[in-house]
C-alpha cells in the first residue's frame, strides 16, 4: 500500500515535471539541429547530425549580434541594479530610523501608489519627460526609469529588513562619534545582505527580461536581448531553426545563473513575500 502510493507519487510528479520541461527540452535540442532534422523529428536527437552552425549564423548576423545584445543588457541591468540597491537601502535606513519625519511619511504613501500602477499606463508620459531631458534613446534614460520604477518595491524590502536590526547597534556607534553615513556604510550595509540578495534576484530577472520599456525608450539603434530577438525573428517567421537557436542563446545566461545561485534564488524570491 505504502509502496504503491510512493510509486504513484513519483509517476505523477515525473509527468508534471516533464510537461513543464518539454518546451525547454525542445529548445535545447533543436538549437543544434539543421532545419530538415527539426521538421523530420522535433523530439529526437541524432548525435551525428548535431551542428553549431545555427548558433553561429543566427547569433552573429548583420542585424543581430548576440554579444552586443549581451553587452547592452548587462550594462542596463548592472547600472540599474547598483543604483537601486545603493539608493533605496540608504533611503530605507533613513526612513526606518527617522520614522517621525513628516516628509518621509508623505513620501512613503506616494510610494505605495507606485506598487500597483501598471507600467504601460505611464509609458506615454515617460517618453515626453525623457524627450525634454534629452535622454530619449539613451541608456541613461532607460536606467533612470528602471531605478524609479523599482524604488517602491526595493525600499519596502529594505525597510522590512532594517527594522529587524537593533537600534542600539547604531545608537552606540552614534555616541562614539560616527555620522549617519558612516553608520550606514559600516554597520547597516553589511547586515542587510540577505535583503540585497532578494532585490538583486528579482530586479535582475525583471530588467533582463523586460521588453516594453527598452522597446520604446531605446529606439532602433540600441537593442537588448529581448528587443534583439524580437526584431531578428519578426512576428510572422516560421524559421524554426533560427527561433530555437536565438531563444537558446538569449536564455542561457539566466539559466546558468540559476544553476550557480540555486539556493539564493529560492530564498531570495521568498524573503520579502512571507513577511508581507
Amino acid at each position: 500500500m505504502r509502496k504503491n502510493r510512493a510509486l504513484l507519487y513519483y509517476i505523477t510528479m515525473s509527468l508534471v515535471g516533464l510537461l513543464f520541461f518539454f518546451p525547454i527540452y525542445i529548445t535545447i535540442i533543436n538549437a543544434f539541429k539543421v532545419k530538415a532534422d527539426i521538421m523530420r523529428s522535433p523530439l529526437g536527437i541524432n548525435f551525428s547530425a548535431l551542428t553549431l552552425n545555427n548558433l553561429k549564423v543566427y547569433g552573429f548576423s548583420p542585424s543581430f549580434n548576440i554579444l552586443k545584445a549581451y553587452f547592452n543588457t548587462i550594462v542596463i541591468v548592472g547600472v540599474s541594479l547598483i543604483g537601486i540597491i545603493i539608493l533605496t537601502s540608504m533611503l530605507a535606513y533613513v526612513m526606518d530610523r527617522s520614522s517621525k519625519n513628516r516628509w518621509l511619511k508623505i513620501f512613503y504613501f506616494l510610494m505605495l501608489a507606485g506598487l500597483i500602477i501598471p507600467p504601460e499606463a505611464i509609458l506615454l508620459s515617460i517618453v515626453q519627460i525623457l524627450k525634454n531631458l534629452g535622454l530619449m534613446f539613451t541608456f541613461s534614460g532607460l536606467i533612470l526609469r528602471n531605478i524609479g520604477w523599482y524604488i517602491p518595491f526595493s525600499t519596502f524590502i529594505f525597510v522590512g529588513y532594517v527594522r529587524t536590526i537593533s537600534k542600539e547597534l547604531d545608537e552606540s556607534a552614534f555616541l562614539d562619534g560616527a555620522g549617519y553615513f558612516r553608520i550606514y556604510v559600516k554597520i547597516i550595509l553589511p547586515l542587510i545582505k540577505p535583503a540585497s540578495a532578494s532585490v538583486f534576484i528579482f530586479c535582475f530577472l525583471w530588467i533582463w527580461n523586460d521588453f516594453l520599456n527598452p522597446l520604446i525608450l531605446l529606439g532602433d539603434k540600441i537593442y537588448t536581448v529581448t528587443i534583439g530577438i524580437y526584431r531578428a525573428i519578426g512576428q510572422y517567421s516560421t524559421a524554426w531553426d533560427q527561433i530555437f537557436a536565438l531563444v537558446f542563446l538569449v536564455s542561457i545566461p539566466v539559466l546558468l545563473m540559476y544553476v550557480v545561485m540555486q539556493k539564493y534564488f529560492i530564498a531570495g524570491l521568498t524573503a520579502g513575500a512571507v513577511k508581507g
Binding site: 525542445i26 501598471p118 504601460e120 506615454l124 527580461n209 539559466l255
Partner: protein, 292 residues
C-alpha cells in the same frame, strides 16, 4: 504632528531616491492624467484642453471596452489557476523526499525565460506548421489544427502558456509559507482525529494567508499589464481577440498619434487596476488578522 529634523547627512542620503521617484514615477502619473484632458497628438507644439471628452469617448470605444473585458477575464483566470495549481504543487513538494528539489526546479525554471523568447517557442509548438500539428497529423487521421487562428483556442493556448511561466512563482511563495506553519498545532489536530483535508482546511490554509495575499496580488497585477506574450504568440489576433489593455494604449497613443486620447485610456486603466488591487489586498489581508 511631531516633526523630526533630518539634518544634512540624512537628507542627502534620502534625496536621490526621492528625486528619481518624483521625476520618473510621480510626475508621469500626473502627466498621464493631465494629457488625458487634452487633444495633443504628441508632436505638435500646442494643444487645447478638451475637458472630459476623451474620458467619455472611451465608453463608446468598442475596441477599448473589449480589451478591458478580455484583460480582466485573462487576469482572473491566471490569478485563480496559477494560485490553485501552485498551491497543490507546493503541498506535493513540501516534504523533503528524494527528487523533490529536481521537481521544484523543473517547475520553477520556465519563470526565468523572457516571455518574448518563450513566446517564440510556444509559437513554434502551436502554429499551423508547428511541431504539435506535425505530430498530430502523423498519429491521427486529421488535418492540422489552427490553434492560434481560432479565437477560443488561441485564448486557451495563451492562458496555458502564461500559466506555464507563472505557476512556479506561486509554488515558491506557498513553499515558503508552508515553512511558517507551527508543527505542534498540526500534530495536535492529527492526534485529535482530524483527517488530511480537515487539517488542510483549518490549519494549513489559514496560516498560508500572507502567501496567498502576495501571490494573488503579484499574479493579478502582472496579468493586468500583459503584453509580450500575446504580442509574440498571436500578435493580438485573430481579429484583435487577444488584445490586452497595453496593446490598446500603444496603438492609440503611439501608432495613431492620439497622445491625449491614449493618455485618457491609460488613466482609466490606472484607476481600474488600482481600485481592484486595493480591494483585493483589503479582502485578503483580513484573513491575516489572526496571525498578529
Amino acid at each position: 504632528m511631531d516633526q523630526e529634523r533630518l539634518g544634512l547627512q540624512r537628507s542627502l542620503m534620502a534625496l536621490p531616491s526621492i528625486v528619481i521617484y518624483l521625476t520618473f514615477m510621480a510626475l508621469p502619473i500626473g502627466l498621464t492624467v493631465y494629457y488625458g484632458f487634452t487633444n495633443w497628438n504628441g508632436v505638435s507644439p500646442t494643444w487645447d484642453m478638451v475637458g472630459f471628452r476623451n474620458f467619455t469617448r472611451a465608453f463608446t470605444d468598442t475596441k477599448f471596452i473589449y480589451s478591458v473585458r478580455f484583460t480582466l477575464f485573462f487576469s482572473v483566470m491566471i490569478t485563480l489557476l496559477s494560485n490553485f495549481l501552485g498551491l497543490i504543487l507546493a503541498v506535493a513538494l513540501n516534504k523533503p523526499r528524494r527528487g523533490v528539489n529536481l521537481f521544484r526546479s523543473l517547475i520553477f525554471i520556465p519563470l526565468l525565460i523572457s516571455p518574448i523568447a518563450a513566446g517564440f517557442v510556444w509559437k513554434a509548438l502551436f502554429s499551423y506548421t508547428g511541431i504539435v500539428n506535425q505530430f498530430l497529423v502523423k498519429i491521427l487521421p486529421i488535418e492540422a489544427v489552427m490553434f492560434l487562428g481560432k479565437p477560443d483556442l488561441a485564448k486557451v493556448i495563451l492562458i496555458i502558456f502564461t500559466l506555464w511561466q507563472n505557476i512556479g512563482f506561486c509554488m515558491v511563495i506557498y513553499l515558503a509559507g508552508l515553512q511558517t506553519i507551527p508543527l505542534d498545532s498540526y500534530d495536535a489536530a492529527a492526534i485529535d482525529g482530524a483527517n488530511y483535508f480537515q487539517r488542510f482546511r483549518y490549519i494549513v490554509f489559514p496560516y498560508l494567508a500572507p502567501s496567498t495575499t502576495s501571490a494573488v496580488l503579484v499574479m493579478f497585477t502582472s496579468a493586468m499589464r500583459e503584453y509580450p506574450r500575446p504580442l509574440v504568440l498571436t500578435a493580438g489576433g485573430p481579429v484583435g481577440q487577444t488584445e490586452t489593455l497595453a496593446f490598446r494604449i500603444f496603438k492609440v497613443g503611439f501608432d495613431a498619434n492620439q497622445l491625449g486620447y491614449g493618455s485618457a485610456l491609460a488613466t482609466w486603466v490606472l484607476i481600474i487596476t488600482s481600485l481592484l488591487s486595493v480591494a483585493i489586498s483589503y479582502l485578503l489581508r483580513k484573513r491575516e488578522a489572526f496571525l498578529k
